[in-house]
């Protein structure tokens, strides 16, 4: 765990969900670059080895035969590179994993039942067995996951959503995580807690795809392409859902809805292909294992086909939908509340963080105590496993006849619902209420688990409740035309399950999953109506469960545009963009660079042609600029300067000529440059050399590293400081002549030298410049901006007007704009600058943009004048400290 934490720098391990403390973008990009380089190296090695092989073959006698073999091999390898081979392998493997996990879970649950059954004589021992078993399993699962790969905790769908948006969360797709997730999930579900396997299976399938991709890349180079990998991950998500529920279509749709914002239809077939194959193998395994006679649905129902429901029952279905909407929102809220409550209570949090396994154990103890069948569990069908309850709930026979459950002979598991003293309605209500908070609580346990299945069961129970009520209310059915068609409560359960799970996940495709799970599509219209209503209610109240977790985990995300908020079409980029962009120009000097780096915090900086033309040339990463600056002010250059000075000194001593001519010309050159840029950077063009040396200002961002008293001590070597600030490995270089030269220079000399260095023009030759950063226009609507950002996975875009940079929009602004308008709703949300727009609606864009530009200049000047005092303050404090 320790090693893993070290690698995944920004991941903070918290009690329930991990949390990201820093923006991941930069780290992810570096990792991606590193991986790419590694890939390139590996490829070249492979190619070399291949050619070596060929050479060897040529030497041997039977050349023809060998060549043929090589060709066959090549052909096979090229086939292996095909997508469908990959997808079949993925589907096959995931089906096996799903089946094995299911099998193991079934054995675990059977073992618990067997233990519970064997101790029937002693209630206390029975209780101990009933409680200890899940506590041990959950604790093991939690501990195992924490030790091996803490990233395996939770559902995995939020992470996949983030990854498919283009963010590289590398540590999420490792073999360790795979092992931890599979074993942790099996144990967690084997405990009988109200947890699901869907979300984790999405993660497991993605892990499989990533690992398979890595494995396959030993054969062909195509597996190293990034965009292809993302396509494959999207297909893997579909496989995950598909093989979990044996629901290929629903799986594809659910994974699209849950993980994508924009879906490429050309990848559609991948998901369908892999998910179908996977579901097929998953069900075939069941047939081969003699569990089933042939391939059928997982929770097969047998409702009436000829008259599934009456038209007049539709209001009841609509009620289920609306109530499920509220229920779903409540579930998400409750889940978040629990997490936030425990996080906020610092004493609890601290205590639990120390004893990490205590929290899962306590929760499990509580839940399993309450479901203990001879205890409170008898009133809520506590002895049934999740699967058994679902099967009984979807049963097509009516439990309640004439209002009270009496005439019906409960067979098999159904009798768990039939408590001798208590009405079946009470059992159902208790089941719903208890399972509701239990599920919300249980899904916060740090084990690999999903919330889909528990919610699904609760929804089914709620639907059943409504259905039984209807059946009790209309014992002979509603239909008026002679024939008696009694009401089927099972159909209501199907509707309820789809509606509640749809509300929690904010998806419509749960409807399709329900059809595939039950193998019947006769209730399509009620299900669709209920799911849509539930979504409408839930989406207006709460984010989806996955978005909620994304927020809790602080994953980098972009919120969705809500339903039908018109103001989105009216907000424009000019209303939300930041106008005082930090930029550098092609002909700027290191001092400007330094100032810009000190004031801004953006990851990338715009590179302009010049500050008059404001023409955008590209963008440079902050790190690159820091490297440039450190190179300029670094030790090696100083040493070189000293050496030069020494030789010049020697020369002067030997033949007394006039030195410094080169330096003088350079200075003139710089002055010309400064004349040009005076209008903008009046502050930096009036250097007051010895009064406020720049060294301490440079040091300021790094006060965290060392206490201030050290930095102000006269023994300090500014070159070293700089290195500590910016360089990656400051220790290795220039150590041999550390002492013999440094002592030559006084602090004043160093400062002067640094001043000179800062006045030089920046050389961008070795700098990586992003040559085409994404550009928007002022008039781009928020709606379109959101689309473009989520389509292309951007994290910032520059706003230009005829090539001139006039602003920048980052994810942050966009998020703020969207959330602002989502929160308030209505016409009130008039963003600060939108009034400008109304004046010039049509035509004359050039004149308009000119106004914009002059306004920008004003803004820029204002910013400059505002930033001046701050700068002065900084130097004041520096003077004090000197």
């Amino acid at each position: 765990m320790a090693g893993d934490d070290q690698r995944a720098l920004q991941y903070e391990q918290t009690l329930m969900y991990g949390r990201y403390t820093q923006e991941l973008g930069a780290y992810a990009k570096e990792e991606a670059a590193r991986l790419r380089e590694e890939g390139g190296w590996r490829r070249s090695v492979r190619e070399r080895s291949r050619s070596l092989e060929l050479l060897e073959y040529d030497r041997s006698r039977c050349a023809k035969c060998r060549i043929c073999t090589v060709r066959c091999q090549k052909f096979l390898i090229s086939r292996v590179g095909e997508d469908w081979i990959f997808l079949i392998l993925l589907g096959l493997f995931m089906a096996l994993v799903s089946w094995v996990v299911d099998f193991a879970i079934a054995i675990c649950l059977q073992a618990q039942k067997w233990m519970y059954g064997g101790l029937e004589s002693n209630v206390f021992l029975q209780y101990l067995a009933w409680v200890t078993y899940p506590v041990v399993l959950i604790t093991f699962s939690a501990g195992f996951t924490q030790i091996l790969a803490p990233q395996a905790v939770g559902s995995g769908i939020p992470e996949m959503k983030t990854i498919l948006r283009g963010v590289v969360l590398k540590e999420y797709l490792t073999f360790k995580t795979f092992v931890a997730k599979v074993i942790g999930l099996t144990c967690a579900l084997g405990s009988g807690m109200p947890l699901g396997k869907e979300g984790p299976f999405v993660h497991i399938a993605s892990l499989c795809a990533a690992l398979l991709s890595k494995f396959m890349s030993l054969f062909g180079g195509i597996y190293e392409n990034e965009s292809r990998n993302i396509e494959m991950l999207a297909a893997a998500c579909a496989v995950g859902v598909g093989c979990c529920f044996a629901a290929p279509i629903g799986g594809v749709l659910f994974s699209i809805e849950v993980t994508s914002t924009f879906f490429a239809v050309r990848n559609y077939w991948r998901g369908f292909f892999a998910a179908t194959f996977s579901a097929f193998i998953f069900r075939v395994l069941a047939v081969w294992n003699r569990d089933e006679e042939t391939i059928t649905a997982l929770f097969k129902t047998s409702f009436r086909l000829d008259f599934p429901f009456d038209l007049q029952e539709l209001p009841a279905f609509a009620v289920i939908g609306i109530a499920s909407g509220f229920g779903g929102a409540l579930f998400v809220y409750l889940n978040r509340l629990i997490v936030q409550f425990i996080r906020k209570q610092k004493t609890i949090n601290k205590f639990l963080m120390k004893k990490r396994l205590l929290y899962p154990a306590l929760v499990t103890l509580l839940v399993s105590t309450l479901t203990f069948p001879p205890g409170f569990g008898q009133f809520m069908a506590g002895k049934l496993t999740q699967k058994e309850s679902l099967v009984t709930l979807l049963d097509n026979r009516t439990w309640a006849k004439q209002g009270i459950a009496e005439g019906f002979d409960y067979i098999g598991n159904s009798q768990a619902w039939n408590h001798p003293q208590v009405n079946v309605f009470v059992t159902l209500v208790l089941f719903i209420v208890m399972k509701f908070w239990m599920s919300a609580l249980a899904t916060t346990i740090p084990v690999p688990c999903g919330a889909f299945m528990p919610v699904f069961v609760i929804g089914a129970a709620f639907g059943r409740l409504v259905g039984e009520s209807m059946a009790a209310w209309f014992p002979d059915g509603i239909h008026s035309d002679g024939t008696i068609y009694p009401i089927v409560p099972g159909g209501y359960a199907v509707v309820g399950a789809a509606a509640l799970s749809g509300a929690v996940t904010h998806t419509v495709s749960t409807a399709v999953i329900v059809f595939e799970l039950t193998g019947q599509i006769s209730h399509i219209l009620p299900v669709m109506i209920a799911v849509i209503l539930a979504n409408a209610v839930a989406q207006s109240l709460q984010p989806s469960l996955y978005d909620s977790i994304i927020r809790i985990k602080k994953l980098p995300y972009l919120p969705e545009l809500g339903w039908g908020h018109h103001e989105k079409y009216n907000i424009r980029v000019e209303d939300i963009m930041i106008r005082n962009v930090m930029y550098i120009t092609l002909n700027c000097c290191y001092r400007d660079l330094h100032d810009v780096l000190l004031t801004g915090h953006l990851k990338t900086l715009a590179l302009l042609e010049s500050s008059e033309s404001m023409i955008l040339l590209g963008s440079i990463e902050r790190a690159q600029l820091q490297a440039l600056l450190s190179l300029q002010l670094g030790r090696p250059r100083m040493l070189e300067y000293l050496r030069d000075r020494a030789t010049a000194e020697k020369k002067r001593l030997s033949m007394v000529s006039h030195p410094g001519s080169e330096d003088g010309s350079q200075r003139v050159n710089q002055e010309v440059r400064f004349q040009i840029s005076t209008e903008e950077s009046s502050f930096s063009s009036t250097p007051t050399p010895s009064m406020k040396p720049l060294k301490p200002a440079l040091k300021r961002p790094s006060v965290v590293d060392r206490p201030p008293d050290i930095s102000t001590s006269p023994q300090d070597h500014s070159g070293n400081t700089l290195k500590n600030l910016f360089c990656v490995n400051p220790e290795t270089e220039g150590l041999e002549d550390d002492f013999d030269v440094d002592d030559d220079m006084t602090i004043r000399e160093i400062a002067e030298w640094e001043e000179n260095q800062l006045d030089e023009q920046v050389n961008f030759d070795n700098c990586k410049i992003d040559p085409a950063p994404f550009q928007l226009v002022e008039r781009t609507s928020l709606h379109k901006t959101h689309t473009i950002f989520s389509l292309l996975g951007l994290d910032h875009a520059y706003v230009t007007s005829i090539g001139r940079l006039i602003g920048v929009v980052s994810l942050k602004e966009l998020r703020k704009a969207i959330e602002g308008s989502v929160a308030v709703k209505g016409v009130k949300v008039r963003p600060p600058l939108s009034s400008f727009r109304d004046s010039g609606t049509s035509g004359s864009s050039s004149s308009n943009s000119e106004n914009e530009a002059t306004e920008l200049h004003k803004l820029w000047d204002r910013h400059k004048s505002m930033s001046l005092p701050r700068e002065h303050l900084a130097s004041d404090s520096d003077e004090k400290s000197q």
Copy 2:
């Protein structure tokens, strides 16, 4: 028709499908701009009237009450603006349309049957009735559509695909088209020809959405937003399919697969919501009309639930899938072949174009003669309508027992398949073969019609054939474990229908449509397997039917990337881009503008800062530049010049001072400018004033307008020529002083004046500049480029390197690259410049791009030297003609 044709400029009416002869982009953009302006005007009018109303209210006595009313009204209006109201209205309306159309079709078909039944005594009269009825209906449909709105012809899905890609095909969404499509479709389907209603319904729903949007925009301004309209159109497509088949889920998926390349998941709910509501109303109407007892599927089946199929039947399903794949490709090919054959045979084409209604009449005559029940029709169940055949084909009872159809009592329509002399297998085979070519032929008739339903029926028949064979082969079923589960041929029919329609349309979602149509999902795995196999086969052989029609109609499109073509990931933009981009610079003179306009044909031109820096500032449309040039060389300026000269003359006569000082300074200014741009445009900087006057060169593009002998006559006024060339309305202005000034100038003077004008610097002030044209980098992969192009609906993108323009990629290049690599397949497709890339794979992007830039300069120079002779030639010929 004439009026419509005038408006829809580029639409050429051909025999079967219309064809686009020009690129639509420019026209569409102009139209969009015009519409937007109109909208703005309307809004301002509306606002004024509203404020007037408010004033009136204020004057009245009961002010409070009135204010309340106004508020209520406002609230209602704001509600009307909500998406869901729009979607409900759309769903409701489309359900009504669908139901009415179905009702009318049913009546038409009943009438035919009644006529046919009433004349049973005389076979000849019977034949006449059987044949005349459809011929009349189809001819009426064709004629009506042609007269009212020729755009209503055909399916409509290809057009919707194009529209959703961002191309404005305005004439496709008018009320006229709506009327023509609905009435034409009803008549065409009422004739009993093998035609479908799905494609047209997608179009009708889109028409509805567009018209409703227009209507709703009377209430709120939001309906004028373009991107919202496109979202609504996407939802409308789903509604179209949904209410046609009562299949909301399948409808949404099918419409996504067929019309989108990238789908925004946030629009998902719109489609589901509207389609569900529409399907619901559609089925409720059937219940209210006492056609059905309750809401069920359209083609309800009642297959066995407990054992739908055996595992060992899966190979048979796979065979159906593969065969359907080939069949689907053949269908698309056959359809295209028929269109192309008739188009190529010029004599046939000419004859048929003159008598437009002859072709539909002939085709109908042929088809209905062959299906005449007492004739050949008896061997192919000719008397059944499409719907009846489908119902019988999906029947769950087996027709063939023990190899020969003997023991089974055919009830109702099923007996049509049971010819006393002929085996049921022969009937099925004949049905399949005949219907196959009939459908391919019938869908080329210029009436509103789709091909989905006919193909669906053929697929069902093929599936049934396989099923019956299996049933005959294994009379007691395949299952080995005691229980007898006989084979259900109806299940095979379902599989076949889904597979063949999936193969023709290249969609997977036909599987879902099939489940919703039949109301049973038990065969999910066989259907999915067959559909995927069929798609795999068909997609590797032929484009989808809709893509095929797009190509025939020459709609602006971008082909899809094929399945798993790896080389797409290796081709980069630098390999396909055009390197010698036509550009203009900020400081260019009108001569450069003129040269650029003469040589290039692109719709937009890049605007650079200068030809040394090559920094891209934006792009300007060709039309804008032409307007600029015409303004500079136009009559008003010449008149002004003459007036100035006259006054100067007068002045000189009155007081003999030194004139032309202003002109001189301007000339100096220009010379300085030329010095700067000499390196690049050496040709244009060496003016040879009187030797080759520019006027005739300018005239050259417009020789189409007037015969050359007129333009070379000495009486010609060059100003007028220019106006004719570029101006929009040349007649209205400057007529009064036409004769008194023009005669003052000789041709030589005019030429000189024009020379001077051309040397002036271009003033871009009143020019609309696109400030942020889309930019790519050289290393962007083809795959990503394709993604971006289809995501954002671009038609060209500039390739830049650190702000400098180095190339351009348009849809054409992209299409070429994709089709090239699709056609050849394999490693052979090594694009011309890809070898450059291999040398510098990693890092050092800046140095790399510099090489690129120098290479670009070389290329540019070469281009210049190559273009010189052409220019000379042009002027030579002009000299000759003078």
